[in-house]
């Protein structure tokens, strides 16, 4: 295993210069996630519209470079996308980390995190933001809103 495969320049760039960092003024919903095994914390704000599009998204948190870079990449990737497309990003990313065939085209910068698959203990860092997103979607469904 090689460190260079994980800590690629684009990963460190997202870590040091996170995109869409902070809070939305009027989010449709917010999810706070805490990884109890490592203490990572992540807060995700989403603004959804009636057509099931992620109009805006922002995150804040503290954690390792992988969890924070993944959050920055994911939020950047799903802004303006339909929820179902965002879900495909999540599914493809998880495939990538499980070393299965993945739809790479949809992943954007997230593809740079492929090296994390060599470090099983770090997979949960990379997927923290997506777990927050999925929790948000579960809540949308439970509340009977139609996310399309």
């Amino acid at each position: 295993m090689s460190l260079d495969d994980v800590y690629r320049q684009v990963v460190m760039d997202h870590y040091q210069n996170p995109r869409h960092h902070g809070h939305l003024t009027h989010p449709t919903l917010s999810v706070g996630l805490h990884n109890p095994s490592c203490g990572d914390e992540l807060h995700l704000d989403l603004l959804l519209d009636e057509d099931g599009v992620v109009r805006d998204a922002a995150f804040e948190g503290q954690g390792c470079s992988i969890s924070m870079a993944a959050a920055s990449m994911f939020v950047d990737r799903v802004r303006g996308k339909k929820i179902e497309e965002a879900r495909r990003v999540v599914a493809s990313f998880k495939d990538l980390l499980r070393r299965r065939e993945a739809d790479r085209a949809i992943l954007g910068d997230l593809e740079a995190l492929e090296g994390v698959s060599q470090f099983p203990a770090r997979v949960k860092c990379a997927t923290l933001v997506m777990n927050a997103f999925e929790q948000a979607m579960d809540r949308v469904e439970a509340e009977g809103r139609d996310p399309k």
Partner: protein, 408 residues
């Protein structure tokens, strides 16, 4: 035993990790196992396996003998009587059992339990929850600048309502050693008992419950070179005699009717169900192994390695070392590379064959106090040597360079 011979007793240490020499410096999490322990467990299963107490045949008598011999070996390690040792699954279960059983006996409105903000969650939560359930108060000792719990600070919070003072002997985060004998005197003067979390002390230094005047002592098998899933709670005999059982079931009873029951004497009344016999045998073998090597020698060697490591880490620019400013009295060294998350540090060290713990170490309140969400921790044990220290220092230096480079 010289160090090379001692290291060769631990089969796993001879293996490579990620193509590098394995540098295992995470013994505060769990210790590696010597051949003597592996052999004892295997021998038990191959030659003596049967259920304890119930069988009338010779094989069952041997199993019972092995189990009780193990209790005596574990008792001898901490200078207790065998009847004062309850086998549990580990420190966590020991402390839960204690809080529930002794808590039921002595806690209620108007009483309090004194502990510290530096405790492992396993010595905080059982007391926190039993205090909530029984309407008792949980009080916290103020830590000094080094994160140390002093007898004076304990004296400031105990009063006539204090029933239990519950403290760690050695901090799993800072490596500080608590002056248990002096605190026992403070607790006893207030009429309270002293419960000690010995998870990080019993494996690493001579602990004499009589000399230190400890009432309860919890510790784990797996941190002292024994198997996982086994541990012990020492309790002063006259206290154990008064305490109610917590786990009801087979093997812990005297007589059972449909409407009532009487229970065995301590410690057996606390060991409901078939116990972890092989685990106890392994823990007994580990206790003997540590005594043969010598707890005094183990303690001084690992403290020396920790001091070497702490000095070396401080010399690396951009590394913060936590814990005592003066000499370290235990094998724990906690640190961070500035600007790099501890998890990233641990991943980088892993690539160099170095196993350290990274995270909050089950000590979230203390971490908040340190102002660090997470730290890396190296912890040394009897099988570590100066090469391990050097490998750690080299790995930290190159990790620092690596992240400086990729962060460009």
């Amino acid at each position: 035993m010289n160090l090379a011979a001692l290291r060769s007793e631990f089969p796993l240490l001879g293996r490579d990790e990620n193509g590098k020499r394995l540098c295992y410096v995470d013994s505060a999490a769990t210790a590696q196992k010597p051949q003597a322990v592996l052999d004892a467990v295997r021998r038990y299963y191959v030659e003596d396996n049967a259920n304890v107490y119930r069988g009338v045949y010779a094989l069952a008598a041997r199993a019972t003998q092995d189990y009780e011999d193990a209790r005596a070996q574990v008792a001898a390690l901490v200078h207790a009587e065998p009847e004062e040792i309850i086998f549990t699954r580990g420190t966590t279960e020991s402390l839960n059992l204690l809080a529930r059983s002794y808590g039921e006996l002595v806690l209620g409105p108007g009483t309090n339990v004194v502990t510290s903000p530096a405790e492992h969650h396993s010595n905080l939560l059982p007391w926190q929850q039993v205090a909530l359930a029984r309407g008792a108060e949980l009080r916290f000792v103020e830590l000094d600048e080094d994160g140390q719990v002093t007898p004076e600070a304990v004296g400031k919070v105990v009063d006539q309502g204090t029933r239990v003072v519950a403290l760690a002997h050695v901090s799993n985060v800072l490596g500080t050693v608590t002056d248990i004998a002096a605190i026992a005197a403070v607790a006893h003067a207030a009429g309270a008992v002293l419960a000690v979390d010995g998870a990080q002390s019993v494996p690493h230094m001579a602990v004499d419950v009589k000399a230190l005047d400890i009432d309860f002592l919890a510790f784990s098998g797996h941190k002292m070179c024994g198997p996982t899933g086994i541990g012990a709670l020492y309790g002063r005999a006259e206290l154990l005699r008064r305490m109610p059982p917590v786990y009801y079931g087979g093997e812990m009873i005297e007589e059972v009717t449909l409407t009532g029951a009487t229970f065995k004497e301590a410690p057996w009344r606390f060991e409901g169900g078939t116990p972890n016999i092989a685990g106890a045998v392994g823990m007994g073998a580990a206790a003997r192994f540590l005594q043969e090597v010598g707890l005094g020698e183990i303690h001084s060697r690992e403290a020396e390695l920790a001091n070497m490591a702490a000095e070396g880490l401080r010399r690396i620019e951009g590394v913060t070392v936590y814990g005592p400013r003066g000499r370290r009295e235990s094998g724990v060294v906690t640190f961070n590379i500035d600007g790099v998350h501890a998890h990233d540090v641990a991943t980088a060290l892993d690539a160099d064959g170095v196993c350290v713990r990274a995270g909050h170490h089950c000590c979230q309140p203390l971490m908040r106090r340190l102002g660090a969400a997470s730290t890396a921790r190296a912890s040394f044990y009897l099988y570590n040597d100066a090469d391990d220290v050097q490998q750690l220092l080299d790995a930290v230096a190159s990790a620092k360079e690596f992240f400086r480079r990729v962060a460009g």
